[in-house]
C-alpha cells in the first residue's frame, strides 16, 4: 500500500500537494471544478490585518515560461476572512493554512493574534479553525512591509520572534528568494522557534512597455513565478533543507509530477503549486492523481524513501 500522507509540524496532510497563496483564492472558485478534499492543503490568499485594495493598473504579464504579478495583496482583511471564508474552508477535509502579511511589525502581530484567538475559540466549540500559519515576509508587490521584512535576517528575526510569542499554532515562515542570504534566513527561523519554512516566493522582476516608455506595472517591479524560476527554487530548497532540521515546503514553478519528485529529492517535506493552477484549471487534482500513479509505477511506498536523497 502506498501512502502519500505526510506530517508537518504536527499537522497531518493526506498528500504533499498544497495550493500556494494567491493562486487559489480561498478555494471557493476552484471548488466548482474539483473537490479541494483531494488536496493535501490550501494556503489562502495573503491576509493583512486591514482590508487592502491592492495595486492599480496592470497586474499580470506573461513572460518566457513564467508570469509577473503585481496584485499587491488585495484581500478582505483578517476579520472578514475569519467571518466569511473560514467556515467554508474548514468544511473541506484538507489542511487550511492562513498566509499572513503586514506593513509593520504590529500589524503582523495583531493579525496572527486574531487568527490564533479565533482558532482557540473554535476549538472550545469543537470546530476546526486555521490549521497552520504561513508568515509572508516575502511579498515583493507592496510598497511597505512584505518583502522588506524578508531581505535582512536580523530584520526578519524580530517579526518571527514577536509572532512566535503570540501564537501556539504551527508556524511556517515563507521566505523570499530576494533575501540577502536565504539559508541564513531559514536558520534564523528555526532558532526563533518556527515550525517550518516555505520557499520560494516570487522574484522581484520587471517588464517595460517600450511603446509607452514606462514599466508595465504602476509599482515598477512585479513578482516573477512559474517554470522560469523552478531551477533556482530547487537549488534554494536544496540548500535550505540541508541547513535546517525543521520541515521545508518547496515551491516555485512546479508543473508536473516530475517536478514534485525533484523537490522531494532536494529535501522538501511537501510542495506548493502556484502558477500551474492557471495553466490547467484542474492542476491540483491532476498532480495528486499523477503522483499516486508515479509512486505505484516506481514502487515507492512512501516519499520518505526519496526525500532529501541528494
Amino acid at each position: 500500500m502506498i501512502s502519500m500522507a505526510c506530517n508537518i509540524a504536527g499537522v497531518p496532510f493526506k498528500n504533499p500537494i498544497i495550493m500556494a497563496s494567491g493562486t487559489f483564492g480561498f478555494g471557493r472558485e476552484y471548488a466548482e471544478f474539483y473537490s479541494p478534499e483531494l488536496l493535501g492543503g490550501i494556503v489562502g490568499k495573503g491576509l493583512t490585518l486591514h482590508p487592502k485594495a491592492g495595486n492599480t493598473g496592470s497586474r499580470i504579464h506573461e513572460t518566457a515560461s513564467g508570469m509577473l504579478n503585481s496584485v499587491g495583496l488585495e484581500n478582505p482583511g483578517v476579520a472578514a476572512f475569519l467571518k466569511d471564508e473560514l467556515d467554508d474552508m474548514t468544511h473541506w477535509n484538507t489542511a487550511i493554512i492562513a498566509n499572513v502579511g503586514g506593513s509593520n511589525l504590529e500589524e503582523y502581530v495583531q493579525a496572527v493574534a486574531m487568527i490564533t484567538e479565533n482558532a482557540q475559540k473554535r476549538r472550545t466549540m469543537n470546530r476546526r479553525g486555521v490549521d497552520m500559519l504561513e508568515l509572508n515576509i516575502s511579498c515583493p508587490n507592496v510598497k511597505q512591509g512584505g518583502m522588506q521584512f524578508g531581505i535582512q535576517t536580523e530584520v526578519a528575526r524580530e517579526v518571527v520572534r514577536q509572532v512566535r510569542n503570540v501564537t501556539a499554532l504551527p508556524l511556517v515562515v515563507k521566505l523570499s528568494p530576494n533575501a540577502e542570504n536565504i539559508t541564513q534566513m531559514a536558520v534564523m527561523c528555526e532558532e526563533e522557534g518556527a515550525d517550518g519554512v516555505s520557499l520560494i516566493n516570487t522574484f522581484s522582476a520587471m517588464k517595460i512597455d517600450i511603446r509607452r516608455r514606462r514599466s508595465v506595472f504602476a509599482n515598477t517591479y512585479a513578482g516573477l513565478s512559474g517554470p522560469a524560476i523552478k531551477p533556482i527554487a530547487l537549488r534554494m530548497v536544496h540548500q535550505v533543507a540541508q541547513a535546517v532540521s525543521i520541515p521545508v515546503i518547496g515551491m516555485g514553478g512546479i508543473s508536473s509530477v516530475e517536478d514534485i519528485i525533484e523537490f522531494t529529492m532536494a529535501g522538501a517535506a511537501a510542495i506548493q503549486v502556484g502558477t500551474y493552477n492557471f495553466v490547467h484549471l484542474h492542476a491540483g487534482a491532476e498532480l495528486v492523481h499523477g503522483l499516486e500513479q508515479w509512486m505505484q509505477r516506481e514502487k515507492v511506498q512512501s516519499l520518505d524513501e526519496i526525500r532529501g536523497i541528494l
Binding site: 494567491g22 493562486t23 487559489f24 483564492g25 472558485e29 476552484y30 466548482e32 471544478f33 490568499k45 485594495a53 491592492g54 492599480t56 493598473g57 496592470s58 497586474r59 499580470i60 504579464h61 506573461e62 518566457a64 515560461s65 513564467g66 508570469m67 504579478n69 496584485v71 488585495e74 512559474g226 517554470p227 502558477t275 493552477n277 492557471f278 495553466v279 490547467h280 484549471l281
Partner: protein, 233 residues
Amino acid sequence: MANVISNVALVPGIYVMKIEGKFKGNMGQFYMLRSGTGYPLLPRPISIYDIGEESISFLYRVVGEGTNLFSQLQPGQEIQLEGPFGNGFPQVEGSLALIGGGMGTAPLLLAAKYYPHAHVYLGFAQQAFGVEAFEAVAASVQVKVGGSIVEQVDPTLYANMFSCGPTPMLQALAMKTVDTSSRLYISTERHMACGIGACLGCTMRTRGGNRRVCKEGPVFPVEEVEFDDLHGV
C-alpha cells in the same frame, strides 16, 4: 481538450475558429483557450462568438504569441478550453442597440441572435469583417469603416444598449448616453490568468470598489465603470 473543426481567416489576421463538442454559454461570456504545451503558459480569454448544437466558435485577432498559435491550428488538431466564464450581458426588455467596434463585435453576435429585434451598429478602423453573420439574424445592421460608429447611434431610441470595443468608442458612447434614460452595458477587458476569480489579476477599479473582470464582469453597467482604469481592446 477538444478538436478544431475549422479555423479560417475572414480578413488577414482575423480568424473564426470552430471547435467540436457540446458547449454552454450565454451572450457576453468567454472561454479560456490554450494551444500547445509550452509558451505561452497562460490561457487567453476569448468571447463566445457563436454556439451550435455540436460546436462553439470564436472570432479572434492575432495580436501576440497566444493568438498566433491559435491561428496555426489545423482542422483535427486539439485545443484546451475551459468555460463559460464571466457574467455576460443581462436579460433586458424593450428596444435594444448592439454597438461593436473591431474585435468588440465578437461578443455581440449571440446577443443579436437572442434579440432579433435589436439594431446593430458595427464600426471598423480599416476593414469590415463578420458583417454577414449579423445580417443573417438582425433586423437592421449599420456598418462604418473609419470614423466613429457612435455618431450614427441615437441613444434616445433605445431602452438598452450593449457595447464592446476600444475604450475611446465606449467613452464616446457613454458621454452621449449620459442625459438619456437608455441603459448602457459595456464589456471590459483585462489581462487574465485564472479566469475564474481566484488570482485577482484582472481586478478593475469601479465606482462600487474592486471588481474581478473575469467573475463580476466582463459586462458592467456603464455607471460603475471608471474609464481611466479601463484598458483598451
